[in-house]
C-alpha cells in the first residue's frame, strides 16, 4: 500500500522534481510548436491543441505568480483605489477590442461583440484578482 508522504524534506524535493518536469514539458511543447511551424506553417502551429495547452499553462502560471508580485510590491501602505475604476478600465479595454473586432478587415458586429466581451471578461477577471490581493495585503498590513 502506498503511504501518504509526510516528510517535509521529501515534499520539497518532490516539488523541485515537479518543477524540473514542468521545464522539460514546456521545452518539449515549444519544440513541437516550432517543428509544426517550420514544417506545416504558422497557422497549423497556432491551431494545434498543444499551442492552447501552452497558452493556458502560461496564463495559469502568470496568475499564480501575481500573488508573488503583489507580495514584493513596495507600496503596500497605500490603500488600493476604488473598484469601479477597474470595471471602467475593463469596459474601455472591452470597447477597444470590440471596435477592433468590428472595424478591422474581415470584422463583423457579432465578431466585435465576442472579441469585446472576451477582452472585457479577461481584463476584469485579472484586474479584480490583483485588486483583491492588494486589498488583502493592505488589510493585513493595517492589522
Amino acid at each position: 500500500m502506498i503511504k501518504k508522504m509526510q516528510d517535509e524534506r521529501l515534499k520539497l524535493r518532490n516539488l523541485k522534481h515537479i518543477s524540473m518536469v514542468f521545464f522539460i514539458q514546456t521545452v518539449g511543447i515549444l519544440a513541437i510548436i516550432i517543428y509544426d511551424g517550420v514544417t506545416k506553417g504558422i497557422d497549423a502551429a497556432l491551431s494545434s491543441p498543444v499551442w492552447f495547452v501552452f497558452c493556458i499553462s502560461m496564463v495559469v502560471l502568470s496568475l499564480l505568480n501575481l500573488s508573488i508580485s503583489i507580495d514584493t510590491y513596495e507600496n503596500i501602505m497605500r490603500r488600493p483605489g476604488p473598484y469601479y475604476r477597474i470595471v471602467l478600465l475593463a469596459v474601455c479595454i472591452g470597447l477597444l477590442f470590440g471596435l477592433a473586432g468590428k472595424f478591422l478587415p474581415g470584422g463583423s458586429i457579432s465578431g466585435g461583440l465576442i472579441v469585446g466581451s472576451v477582452g472585457f471578461i479577461c481584463f476584469l477577471a485579472v484586474f479584480s484578482y490583483g485588486y483583491y490581493l492588494k486589498k488583502k495585503r493592505y488589510d493585513e498590513h493595517k492589522e
Binding site: 509526510q6 517535509e8 524534506r9
Partner: protein, 68 residues
C-alpha cells in the same frame, strides 16, 4: 544549521528511527538535521522538541558569532 538534536535525542534515549516516527518524518531527514545539512521548518523543530522534551532554545538556539 548547527543544532543539538543528536545530543537531545541521546539524552531522551531515542534512536534516529524512533525520533523519526515520533515526528512523522523519515530517518534520513533526522540524520540530515543532526549533521546540519537540512534546515527543518519551525513545525518540525517543535515536533522534535516535543519528542525529546526540550525547548526550542535548548536545541536550536545558536548565539551570533562574537556573542556568548
Amino acid at each position: 544549521m548547527k543544532n543539538k538534536v543528536k545530543f537531545a535525542r541521546l539524552q531522551a534515549e531515542l534512536t534516529q528511527q524512533q525520533l523519526a516516527e515520533k515526528t512523522g518524518v523519515t530517518r534520513q531527514t533526522i540524520s540530515l538535521i543532526e549533521k546540519g545539512k537540512y534546515n527543518p521548518t519551525l513545525n518540525l523543530c517543535l515536533e522534535i522538541c516535543y519528542a525529546t522534551g526540550r525547548s526550542l532554545d535548548e536545541i536550536f538556539w545558536i548565539p551570533r558569532e562574537g556573542e556568548e
